[in-house]
C-alpha cells in the first residue's frame, strides 16, 4: 500500500521505508540509489588506565550493559541503549563514546519520487535510532509516505510519531481485527488521526466493518482479493503495475485524508 500510494502520488512526493528490520519498498519501487552510508549509534569506550573502578557507570546504567568484575568494568554492547549516561556519570572521565555500526541509510529516487530507507544490521536489537534517522531524510516539502514497521512498540511508535495521519491496512479476519484494535488503541494514546484500508475484504467476515462503524473509524478503501495483484506482488511489482485503475482511487483517498486534516 505504501509503495502503491507513493507511486500514485508521483513526482514531488516521498517514500520513507521505516520498516528497517525488513525493508522491502526498494524491491517494489526499484529506485536509483544516489547515496548509501553507514549508520552508527554511540556506545561507551572505557579507558582502562583512567578507570579507578568506582562503579558509577554500573550504578547508573538502567539496562545492565556495564558490569564490574574484580573492579573492572565490562561492556555488554547488545544491552546498551546509547543513552550516554555512563560517560556523563564517570568521575574520572574514563568513558568516551565510539560509533557502533548498526545499519545503513540510503537515499535515491525513482520517476521524480524521493526515496529513502534504512537497513538494520542483522543481530542488532534496536531499530529506533535508525528509524529516526530515515525520517530526518524527508524532503522539506511535498507529501511524505512512511512505510511503518509492524507491532505497537518502540519501532512503530517512533515511525508514526510526528505524522499528521496514519493509514491502517488490515484484513477482515479475527487476527486482523485483533491487531487493528491494538494499533487503534496505540494511535489514540499518541493522538494521531487514522483511518482504515481493508485488504482482501471479500475473504473475511463483517466483524471489522461493524467494529469500525461502532468506533467511528472511517474505511477509506476496500480492496478485494485479486490473484493478479498477489502474483504481481510475488514478482516484486506494486498493484498499480497490474491494476493501474487503482491509481485514481489512491489519489482520491489521499485527497480525502488531506481535506479531513485541513478541515
Amino acid at each position: 500500500m505504501a509503495c502503491a500510494l507513493a507511486q500514485a502520488l508521483g513526482p514531488g512526493a516521498a517514500l520513507l521505508d521505516c520498516d528497517v528490520e525488513e525493508p522491502n519498498c526498494a524491491l517494489f519501487l526499484k529506485p536509483e540509489i544516489e547515496s548509501e552510508k553507514d549508520f552508527s549509534v554511540p556506545v561507551p569506550q572505557i579507558d582502562a588506565v583512567r578507570c579507578k573502578g568506582h562503579g558509577r557507570c554500573q550504578a547508573v546504567c538502567e539496562y545492565n550493559a556495564i558490569k564490574l568484575f574484580g573492579g573492572k568494568p565490562f561492556l555488554f554492547d547488545h544491552m546498551c541503549h546509547s543513552c550516554g549516561g555512563c560517560a556523563l556519570a564517570c568521575p574520572e572521565k574514563a568513558i568516551t563514546e565510539k560509533p557502533h555500526p548498526s545499519g545503513k541509510l540510503r537515499r535515491g529516487g525513482v520517476s521524480g519520487l524521493f526515496f529513502a530507507d534504512g537497513i538494520m544490521n542483522i543481530g542488532e536489537p534496536s531499530s529506533v535510532r535508525l528509524i529516526k534517522a530515515v525520517k530526518k531524510l524527508a524532503p522539506a516539502s511535498g507529501d511524505v509516505i512512511i512505510d511503518c514497521p509492524p507491532g505497537t512498540s518502540c519501532p512503530m511508535i517512533n515511525a508514526v510519531t510526528g505524522s499528521d495521519f496514519c493509514l491502517l491496512v488490515s484484513e477482515p479476519t479475527p487476527f486482523g481485527l485483533c491487531d487493528l484494535k491494538l494499533a487503534v488503541e496505540t494511535l489514540e494514546k499518541i493522538r494521531i488521526p487514522h483511518a482504515l484500508v481493508i485488504n482482501r475484504y471479500d475473504l473475511g467476515d463483517k466483524e471489522m466493518e461493524d467494529w469500525c462503524a461502532q468506533k467511528g473509524i472511517k474505511i477509506l478503501l476496500r480492496i478485494p482479493f485479486d490473484r493478479e495483484i498477489a502474483a504481481a506482488y510475488s514478482r516484486g511489482e506494486t498493484m498499480l503495475e497490474v491494476r493501474p485503475e487503482y491509481s485514481q482511487a489512491l489519489i482520491a483517498m489521499f485527497d480525502v485524508i488531506k481535506a479531513g486534516l485541513s478541515a
Binding site: 525488513e22 517494489f28 542483522i122 531499530s127 509492524p150 510475488s234
Partner: protein, 288 residues
Amino acid sequence: MKQVLILSGKGGTGKTTVAGAFARLAAPCVTADCDVDAADLHIILSPEPAERKNYYGGKKAAIDPEKCTSCGRCLEVCRFDAVSAGPFRISETSCEGCGVCVWNCPSGAIIFGEALSGTWAVAPCRFGVFAGARLEPAAENSGKLVALLKTEAVKAAEASGAEFLILDGSPGIGCPVLASLSGVDAVVIVAEPTVSGRHDFLRLAELLKQQKLRGFLLVNKWDLNKSETATLEEAAVGLGFGLLGRVPFDTWVVKTLLARKTLGEDGPSPAANAVEKAWRTLRAELEK
C-alpha cells in the same frame, strides 16, 4: 523437551496459523505466543480464563512541576527526544527509561518509577498449556517480556512433561525476535514465494547463522509463484536449511480462522494436509 520457534520476518505470512496447527499436532504440548505486541494465537487456541500477572518492563521519568525550575538540563541530556520545553515535560511514549535526566536534574524534580508495561498468563487450553502476554500499547521492552514468557513456558513444559514447546515468534529481526531465539532446537521460517519474502527469509537466515540455530523452511501459498518457490527453496538448501514442504493457497484457511479453529481441526483441506506433513517431517528430523 524440544523447543520449536516459528518466524517469518514480516507479518501476515501464515506464521500464527502454522503455530496453531503445530500446537494441535504436538498436543499435549505447551504453546507460547512470543509476538507480544500483536498477540493473536490465543484467538484460535482459546485458553481458559486465568489470572493475569502484571509485567513491569522498565521505568519512566516524569517531571514534578512543583519542583521544576525550568533549567533545561533534562532536555540537554536526553538522547531520546522525550523532553519538551515550556513547561518542561517528558513524553511517556518516547521515554526509554534510561534515568539520565533523573540524576542530572539539579532540583530533584524528576520522578522515576516502574511502569506497567503489560500482563501475562499461563492457562490450560485444549492442546495442553498456553502462555500468552499482552504488551501495553506504546510500551517498551517487548524483548524482556518475551524472555519472561519463555521462562514461564519452559517451566510449564517441564512441569507437565510435555514433549514440545511451540513458540509463535514476532515479525522483524529486533529485540523480541532475539529474545525468542534463546534455547530453541529448531526455527521454522514460514515464507511466501515473493521477491520480498525471499529478502526477508535471507535476513532471518543470516540471523540464525549468527546464533548457530537449526532452520527449516515452509513455503506458504507456494502456487502463487512457482518459480519463486523453487528459487526460495534452492537458497534455503544452500544455507543448510531443511525443507518442510509447500502449502498451497487455500481459501479454506480463512474459513477455519473465522471459526476460530486451528488448521485441520475442522477437517482436511489442501493447506491443512500440507501443514500436517510439514509437522511430521519436522518431528522426524528432531528425533534423528
